[in-house]
Assembly symmetry: C2
Homo-oligomer: 138 residues x 2
């Protein structure tokens, strides 16, 4: 298949709460909740850079649509990385996330690969890494 990811959908427990976190707290652009006319259809989309999209969808809807059972949260399933262009910008984004209500999982610090990064968790425990990597200019 083509090396393509069009959309990342996060399973959430409380769509309104997650919308507030990402839209009001982190400032991501969105039209809010759409799709309410469909059972299990309520969803939030964010337009990201370079044509990527991020979606929030209730875990129950995701389970219904895929036919899988809802299982307990698991924070080590995946992380989303937000790379920036300096250590100072890492600190700024981490502060913004904390103010938005994120759990600071790991304070920003030097990384084993020579960069600088921290982790925060969204209201559902989904991990974000905010990173400055000198090999990957932001």
């Amino acid at each position: 298949m083509k090396p393509r990811i069009t959309l990342i959908t996060l399973g959430v427990d409380d769509l309104e709460k997650s919308l507030r976190f990402y839209r009001d707290g982190l400032g991501l652009p969105t039209d809010g909740i759409i799709g309410q006319e469909f059972e299990y259809g309520s969803v939030v989309f964010f337009d990201l850079e370079k044509g990527m999209r991020l979606a929030l969808w209730p875990r129950k809807s995701l389970a219904h649509d895929s036919g899988l059972p809802v299982t307990a949260r698991s924070a080590t399933e995946f992380t989303l990385a937000h790379n920036v262009s300096s250590e100072a910008e890492v600190d700024k984004v981490m502060r913004e996330a904390e103010k938005a209500g994120a759990v600071i999982v790991k304070k920003a610090q030097a990384t084993f690969y020579g960069g600088y990064a921290g982790y925060f968790a969204d209201p559902d425990g989904h991990l974000w890494e905010v990173a400055w990597n000198p090999q990957w200019p932001g």
Copy 2:
């Protein structure tokens, strides 16, 4: 923060097995396992379209780096969508995934929003949705 996701990292149980699935089975481009010189550093990167990256990293490494415990798998945490430009291409990618050893979680079929999509799971149970959405040309 900027609406930016630079990298999606999947927690995996068996890095070699996951590498074979994504590189040999699905054909994603990669230099293979790198970072072995660091404890918990072994990782696989795939370069995707539009500058996105996908990484495979052992769940144990992700847990070590973030300070979180490894927990049981949970398939409803997130999905990655691979949008294509026709129903026929959905079928083609689903066949390719099955041949690569993916579990077909939901056979491709008409969706509630008027498209056509199926789900498969990678060796770690991570969900991919292969979709044709008439509102999102592939």
